[in-house]
């Protein structure tokens, strides 16, 4: 406990140096901005801004990227409450009661409740990361290749189970990602694979290029074909910014429950924040003595999912920081950023780079403070941004996406690749494939093959070693149970019901 406080103290000290504070600030502001703007998600933004962070030191870079991530979460809720448009998928449920409050002229109260619940949950989440991180890292230090391989299988299976849409399609996406990870020179044998004589492909596909294409360009194409007509939403008045005393009191318990649920679900690979906000809303509705109020402006229906998705956003850092396994596409990009800065994500980060680890944990808390302090007064500006018409927005996004893709390695070929993956992303969406698991497969592919190889060397080409080592067997069994559960009819309908809303 003393250790924990000492470490957190050091972390806060580092996070509060002016440079780091500045990048944290920049991150949360940019994050909120893109959370508010329609048609631009955190994945595309981080992929786009990744080259900018090349010039920074590792701590500043990761602090800023993390800020973008939870800032986007926050901005997404703002638009959900004000104009009934969830900026991020995880704020979809916030629309229900948050926007109902807006229609009653209580938008200010809803925004304040959302901000305070997020902040409280952010504190809980930061503590959870600080407590669980070192424990998990110690455990993971004893992992060997078989355990790592099985852990990655488990990670990919959870991503499949939690992806939107058909399980079969999600599995296909993961496999496609794994296949794409094979492009380039094989690290252990030097064989060039799927290069087809193109010198640009020798180093493999850069995940940031693939992500910009799939999520940045692909989403713009989908929007141009789909719903974005260019008409900007109209925003009513915000009203008094503070909730009444009774509203405040009745959101305390839901915030606590939402935080705990979010912390737990955030650990799961896949879409933790999304699932946890749905879960927290459903839980509050079930516990409430007056479930009829939900959907008509119940503050509990704002506090609980907001707390949950923010807590989940924080704890989703745990598998990334301690195991090197990304739990979602944003974390996958963070891993890429760490690798660019010469840090191999995994349990050794905590022992070899304690400053980095604790500064990141502390910066999450600092970022949450900044969000509350800055964003409530600034809400008017964010609202104005909502009224920027799409025909100005998407050419601008495209230009930044192109500059970003180009500057990753100053290669025009990367920009062409991004265009290609933009088309792929658009076609996948049109055919109802969720491209997020693909990115996860792409990121994990190389490490997975590597660990499988080592496993087979340890065991002299005997795959049963994966089932005879207890930890590895346990993870594979869990993966099997999850997969079977997702395919079985009873659970499948429940899963569809959760995502249907």
């Amino acid at each position: 406990m003393i250790d924990l406080l000492g470490n957190l103290g050091t972390g806060i000290e580092i996070a509060l140096t002016p440079v780091h504070l500045f990048y944290c600030f920049l991150g949360v502001v940019l994050g909120t901005l893109i959370g508010v703007l329609p048609g631009l998600g955190p994945v595309a933004t981080i992929a786009m801004l990744l080259p900018i962070t090349f010039n920074l030191d590792a701590i500043s870079a990761l602090i800023m990227l993390a800020g973008i991530y939870y800032g986007a979460q926050y901005g997404g809720s703002t638009t959900a409450i004000l104009v009934n448009l969830p900026g991020e998928a995880s704020s979809t449920v916030t629309c229900l009661d948050g926007h109902a409050l807006t229609r009653q002229g209580r938008a200010g109260a809803a925004l304040a409740i959302a901000a305070l619940a997020s902040f409280a949950a952010g504190c809980v989440g930061t503590l959870a990361v600080a407590l669980l991180g070192p424990t998990l890292a110690n455990l993971a230090l004893r992992f060997q290749s078989p355990e790592y391989f099985s852990l990655m299988v488990l990670g990919l299976v959870t991503a499949v189970v939690l992806a939107r849409g058909s399980v079969l399609k999600a599995v296909i996406m993961v496999l496609l990602g794994l296949l794409l990870s094979q492009v380039g020179t094989d690290a252990s044998t030097g064989t060039e694979r799927f290069v087809f004589g193109n010198r640009h492909l020798v180093d493999g596909l850069n995940f940031a290029v693939v992500a910009t294409g799939l999520f940045g360009i692909g989403e713009i194409l989908s929007n141009l074909y789909g719903r974005h007509s260019g008409a900007a939403p109209s925003v009513g008045s915000i009203g008094r910014l503070w909730p009444s005393r009774s509203e405040f009191r009745s959101s305390i318990a839901p915030t606590v429950r939402g935080s705990v649920l979010g912390c737990a679900l955030g650990l799961l690979p896949g879409s933790g924040p999304l699932l946890s906000s749905f879960g927290a809303y459903a839980l509050e509705k079930r516990l409430s003595r007056t479930p009829g109020r939900f959907g008509h402006g119940a503050v509990e229906g704002v506090a609980a999912p907001e707390a949950a998705n923010n807590a989940a956003a924080q704890t989703s850092f745990i598998p990334m920081l301690t195991l090197g396994i990304p739990s979602n596409s944003v974390m996958a990009l963070m891993i890429g950023a760490m690798i660019i800065h010469g840090i191999t994500p995994g349990p050794q980060v905590l022992t070899e780079q304690p400053d980095l680890f604790w500064a990141m944990v502390a910066s999450m808390w600092v970022g949450n403070v900044l969000l509350v302090v800055l964003n409530l007064p600034l809400v008017g500006i964010w609202v104005r941004l909502l009224t920027v018409p799409y025909h100005f927005l998407y050419p601008a996004i495209l230009l930044f996406v192109c500059i970003g893709a180009y500057s990753i390695s100053n290669s025009y070929f990367d920009v062409m690749l991004a265009a290609g993956f933009g088309l792929v992303g658009f076609l996948l969406r049109a055919a109802h494939f969720d491209p997020a698991p693909l990115l996860l497969g792409l990121i994990l592919g190389e490490a997975m093959e590597d660990n499988l190889r080592r496993t087979l060397i340890i065991s002299r080409e005997d795959l049963t070693i994966l089932f005879t080592r207890p930890v590895s067997a346990g993870m594979l069994a869990l993966a099997a149970v999850l997969l079977i559960g997702a395919i079985t009819p009873g659970l499948r309908t429940r899963r569809e019901k959760v995502f249907a809303e």
Partner: protein, 164 residues
């Protein structure tokens, strides 16, 4: 967008829409998987005690082939229009965005940011439903100025703004 959005699909339309979505997707994926397996057979074989470079891609490719075929078959056997594609028979106009990105890539090294951005911004603006010349020109000037300041001056990315 070309066809009315909420028309109840006839049986023929159902079949054709399935052909466009899951069946086509499944076939494309199965073909990709098979192709990967075939290409991987050309990779150097590994030594006796290690798995060679062909092992992993072959396994993944084979799984893709099987699952892709499974997706296509199950879509053919379904009768309801589960995944009607949003596109249908519509204009290729939004695809101008891709042309813009490719032109940007082709121009950026030779001619610098201003020219590349010109191609990108105008083509992508044309991809939208309401194109206006002056509005787009103003947007272009603002974007080039902003991007040059932030990326070239501020961050020092090695990108030229104007052709030399």
């Amino acid at each position: 967008m070309g066809s009315p959005a909420h028309r109840r699909p006839t049986r023929g339309a159902v079949w054709s829409s399935m052909l466009q979505a899951d069946v086509l997707a499944g076939l494309a994926i199965a073909t990709t998987g098979l192709a990967a397996v075939v290409v991987a057979q050309g990779f150097r074989k590994g030594a006796a005690h290690e798995i060679g470079p062909a092992y992993f891609p072959s396994v993944i490719g084979a799984m893709l082939a099987v699952l892709g075929a499974g997706l296509a078959v199950s879509a053919l056997r379904r009768n309801e229009p589960l995944s009607r594609p949003k596109t249908g028979a519509v204009s290729v106009r939004p695809l101008l965005v891709l042309a813009g990105v490719i032109l940007f890539a082709a121009l950026i090294e030779e001619f610098g940011l201003a020219v590349a951005a010109f191609a990108l911004v105008f083509l992508s603006a044309l991809a939208g439903s309401s194109f206006r010349l002056l509005r787009t020109a103003a947007l272009l000037v603002a974007l080039v100025a902003f991007a040059s300041l932030v990326f070239v001056v501020g961050l020092g990315l090695p990108i030229r703004v104007f052709p030399t």
